[in-house]
């Protein structure tokens, strides 16, 4: 059986997919994951989930955000407005990053 492995680098962070392992049950999957994925990389916690329990939908089946013109929902579109506060500027910067990566892909 195959188990997908998710690694969290530090406490409070996100568990991000990092690979998978063969194992007959959850307990061994955790041990194998710890050996294969937690030994070298900085690790605070690991999750395992059976591969068959994972659902997927991809860009062939679905048009995800950024594929159609939705400029009205980006802070960056309101060019005549200066961000009112630091937290607004921060949000706008995060959005700009995503916009750039969408542009780079298309």
């Amino acid at each position: 059986m195959i188990w997908e492995v998710f690694r969290q680098e530090k406490s409070g962070g996100y568990h991000k997919h990092c690979g998978n392992v063969h194992a007959p049950d959850r307990e061994l999957a955790l041990q194998f994951a710890a050996i294969q994925h937690g030994r070298r990389m900085k690790t605070h916690s690991l999750w395992v989930a059976p591969q068959r329990e994972i659902g997927e939908i991809d860009a062939d089946e679905m048009s995800f955000g950024g594929m159609t013109d939705k400029t009205y929902r980006w802070a960056t579109s309101y060019t005549d407005i200066e961000p009112a506060a630091p937290e607004v500027a921060e949000s706008e910067a995060e959005q700009a990053d995503v916009e750039h990566s969408l542009e780079a892909d298309s």
């Binding site: 939705k70 009205y72 929902r73 980006w74 309101y78 005549d80 009112a84 506060a85 607004v88 500027a89």
Partner: protein, 314 residues
């Protein structure tokens, strides 16, 4: 984990669902996140009619995107609240419908004209974002993760709201006057967004001790005023004489004279007992009942597909 340990370890993203948290922590966090989630729902409902009333196609698109975002924020937050193991999403939604669920004071008032829109979309979203940015450092990790996504989206809300304000304040004299009127009506409510001064607020201390909150009501209100008073003035809005707001030269921050605010009204609202509360809760409950059949059919579908899963042998 006992309460002493919790207070010692309290810090940004310190606690997660796998930690054995004391009931007092879990209840306080549930109360706070449920309130936040409810407020997202009620804010979304208050703004929903303005998708239809928006004066241009751009505003309409932006408004419908914004309302979608708010309902999405509520969903994220109910998940974060559920992860504390005190209440289910179902229970929290029912509490909101039957009038037990508490939510932000500003969303208990009717909003009728387009001139009022930036009072919510700029000032209240601005206030909310000001607070939410500090909650990225809350001690309950699922809450902090929800804030990452919420803050990512909120920048658009605040700028969109400010763009509406700018447009109105550059409009005809009559438009400017109506906007000023709306501002005078909403301004005290916006200040009350941050609640009463620290010593009057009941849950404040504990929430700060265990790291659920990182800033006090007072700090948040003052720094909000520092940014948004000059903004209002920049667009030509006049700050009403009451509540008195004074600039403290030494501390370089604004303070509000709390006695000038209507706290009876605030506490009536906090009990969901104002006329507006009944109105807003009632119309939301009505909407929830109208789509009961959707939830029911999803539940029965879920049950039907679950019976296919093999049971563990014992």
């Amino acid at each position: 984990m006992d309460l002493e340990t919790v207070k010692e370890r309290a810090g940004p993203r310190q606690f997660a669902p796998k930690d054995d948290m004391p009931e007092k922590y879990r209840k306080a966090a549930t109360r706070m996140i449920q309130f936040h989630a409810n407020s997202e729902v009620m804010g979304g409902y208050l703004e929903k009619p303005f998708i239809r009333q928006a004066p241009s196609i751009d505003r309409k698109l932006a408004f419908s995107a914004k309302v979608q975002d708010e309902i999405g924020h509520a969903q994220l937050l109910y998940r974060a609240a559920e992860s504390l193991g005190i209440k289910t999403r179902e229970e929290m939604l029912d509490e909101l419908a039957n009038g037990e669920g508490k939510f932000l004071n500003c969303f208990h008032y009717p909003m009728e004209s387009w001139h009022e829109v930036p009072m919510i979309a700029f000032f209240v979203d601005g206030a909310a974002m000001h607070r939410q940015a500090t909650l990225k450092n809350t001690s309950w990790t699922p809450y902090a993760h929800a804030m990452d996504k919420v803050c990512f989206e909120e920048g658009f809300h605040v700028k969109h709201g400010e763009s509406i304000l700018s447009e109105l304040m550059n409009g005809s004299k009559a438009t400017q006057e109506k906007t000023q009127e709306a501002f005078e009506l909403w301004w005290p409510r916006i200040i009350q967004f941050f609640g009463p001064t620290n010593d009057k607020s009941v849950h404040n201390d504990f929430a700060q001790q265990v790291g659920l909150k990182t800033k006090s009501n007072d700090e948040l209100r003052d720094t909000f005023l520092d940014t948004y008073v000059p903004k209002a003035e920049k667009y030509g809005l006049e700050i009403p004489e009451y509540p008195r707001i004074e600039y403290d030269e030494a501390e370089e921050t604004y303070h509000v004279n709390e006695d000038d605010l209507d706290w009876d009204e605030f506490w009536t609202i906090a009990k969901n007992d104002s006329e507006g509360s009944h109105e807003q809760i009632g119309s939301r409950a009505h909407a929830q009942a109208a789509v009961e059949w959707v939830r029911e059919s999803m539940d029965s579908w879920e049950q039907a597909s679950n019976t296919g899963t093999p049971q563990a042998a014992d």
